[in-house]
């Protein structure tokens, strides 16, 4: 295992000890539990999450300042939620001094770039107190998800209880108990194009990052990365927020995380390189080289 998993201090398999949180959490309820703990302890005074939006399964970036509001944001919505758009506003109209934020690996990159290069993010850099990253292979535009659910899975968006990507399939669970699985070869063409140049699978730049891959159903794989993340995670464990198992003792374990990370990074690195010779003597832009 090389650099594909980023730097981390510890990695465990974990699950929230709150039955209430787990009822509607996507996986082990790590995101919601850790924010709820940080909120109650005053480590953060609000968190930017992706709450429910105007249409079914359409996310809306949202500043949650109560545990109740965090509860409403549980679960994964597989389409774009520009959470970082609220990072300055959270310190303004919401008046937060200590911000939590959850996001995909690219959103964690955005947050860290914004701390080192805050062109337009006045007085934000030292207010970001807990950045939780979620693993991400790819994301979708809203209309893609709609087509997958309505055209391919033949379900109504409003009657879907949960969506999940795992075990090589896109799963759609209906309210009435029906389950439809779509092979990923069907979903690929609907992916957000910009995901194909993304070189991070497990949110390397988060304080704490988490996802389902590597752990058994209902559990999450957790990487504790920064000093700050380590500090908060250790306290949350001491407070009994999570039950944990050593990652070495669970199946499928880190090996699968590494494998998927390498696959993603390898494939996307090729896309980045192919952009250099995309046209006839004309390249597409490479953001990793220059603006």
């Amino acid at each position: 295992m090389g650099t594909e998993l980023g730097k981390y201090k510890t990695c465990v398999s974990a699950r929230s000890t709150s039955k209430e949180i787990l009822k509607k959490a996507q996986d082990g309820g790590i995101v919601t539990s850790l924010f709820a703990y940080a909120l109650e302890e005053g480590i953060i005074d609000g968190a930017i999450v992706s709450g429910p939006g105007d249409e079914p399964w359409r996310p809306q970036p949202y500043v949650a300042t109560t545990v109740g509001e965090l509860m409403a944001s549980r679960g994964t919505r597989y389409n774009i939620s520009p959470n970082v758009s609220l990072i300055k506003e959270a310190t303004r109209s919401y008046g937060l001094d200590k911000i939590g934020i959850v996001g995909t690996p690219c959103q964690m990159q955005a947050v860290r770039k914004g701390q080192l290069y805050p062109f337009g993010w006045r007085d934000v850099d030292d207010k970001i107190k807990l950045a939780i990253g979620i693993f991400c292979m790819e994301n979708f535009p809203y209309q893609s998800v709609k087509q997958l659910v309505e055209d391919h899975a033949a379900m109504k968006m409003e009657s879907v209880k949960k969506m999940e990507i795992g075990k090589g399939k896109f799963w759609v669970f209906g309210e009435r108990g029906q389950v439809v699985q779509l092979p990923l070869k069907v979903t690929h063409k609907y992916e957000q194009p910009a995901c194909h140049v993304c070189l991070d699978y497990v949110a390397n730049l988060a304080d704490v990052s988490t996802g389902s891959v590597g752990s058994p159903d209902g559990w999450s794989t957790v990487f504790v990365r920064s000093k700050n993340g380590d500090d908060i995670w250790t306290k949350a464990i001491a407070a009994g927020c999570f039950e944990t198992k050593p990652i070495e003792q669970v199946k499928p374990g880190l090996e699968l995380v590494s494998k998927l990370a390498n696959e993603k990074i390898g494939k996307n690195q090729k896309t980045v390189e192919a952009r250099a010779t995309f046209g006839v003597g004309k390249a597409l832009r490479n953001p990793y080289i220059k603006p």
Partner: protein, 253 residues
């Protein structure tokens, strides 16, 4: 510390907002002036009439080409300063002064304003209106490390400043439209929202995860594109955010 760098603030046609933003580092600014930089020029801050030799010129504002003195001064700045930094949207891109058509008393003939890069070579860009205090601070600390630091510090400062030098090479025009031209049209926008958070006039909203710029509101400051992680993302700098932020914090303690 004896080995300070010399810095000047050169005021072209700008609103002084960039200078205020620098000053909004409060104690941090005093520490910078105390330990790292001597302010050798600055209209409101230093009693010096002519642009002296200096290591770093922080230039605020665009140049009115009908104002002879301004044109002379920007050229002189280039001659006297080892490093010229365009601080803020007006110096980098013209920003709000792009909309000037003259007609203001008491110099109605002053109608044409150009970003400084249209008249001189500029080394470093800090887009934004105004660029945040923390951004100006970080560039000041890095400029110091570049000129006076040890080998590792010089390397870090070079890596940190490289994208800002590349922005300076990229050109003197900016607009919210850059998000379309150079990010969305290039298949690079992943919908993070950074651009909207950077816009000083709230011209950017997100529709189904992608930026939508209200072009009537855009003042052409360039903050959104610079802030976008898909304009530049340097893997040799950003992942070191923890250590770099600590180092900057320690330097200003």
């Amino acid at each position: 510390m004896a080995d300070k760098i010399t810095v000047g603030h050169v005021h072209m046609s700008g609103c002084t907002g960039c200078l205020v933003s620098l000053a909004d580092n409060y104690g941090g600014l005093l520490t910078i002036l105390d330990r790292y930089a001597d302010l050798v020029y600055g209209l409101t801050l230093a009693d010096v009439r002519h642009i002296p030799k200096m290591d770093v010129a922080l230039v605020e504002g665009s140049v009115c080409i009908q104002d002879k003195l301004a044109v002379e001064e920007i050229k002189e700045t280039r001659e006297k300063a080892a490093v010229v930094v365009a601080v803020g949207g007006c110096a980098c891109y013209g920003n709000i002064t792009r909309f000037s058509r003259g007609g203001q008393p008491n110099q109605p003939q002053h109608e044409s304003f150009l970003p400084i890069g249209d008249l001189i070579k500029v080394d470093v860009y800090i887009p934004g209106c105004a660029p945040c205090p923390q951004m100006i601070r970080n560039v000041c600390v890095m400029a110091y490390l570049l000129l006076k630091g040890n080998k590792e510090q010089k390397e870090l400062a070079t890596k940190f400043l490289t994208p800002l030098m590349q922005l300076a090479e990229r050109g003197t025009e900016a607009c919210g439209c850059d998000l379309m031209y150079d990010v969305v049209n290039q298949g690079l926008c992943m919908g993070c929202g950074s651009c909207a958070a950077a816009c000083p006039v709230r011209a950017i909203t997100h529709e189904y995860g992608k930026p939508n710029v209200n072009r009537e509101m855009c003042i052409k400051c360039g903050a959104c594109y610079a802030q976008c992680p898909r304009s530049f993302f340097n893997f040799d700098v950003v992942p070191e955010f923890e250590a770099i932020m600590e180092a900057i914090g320690a330097a200003l303690k």
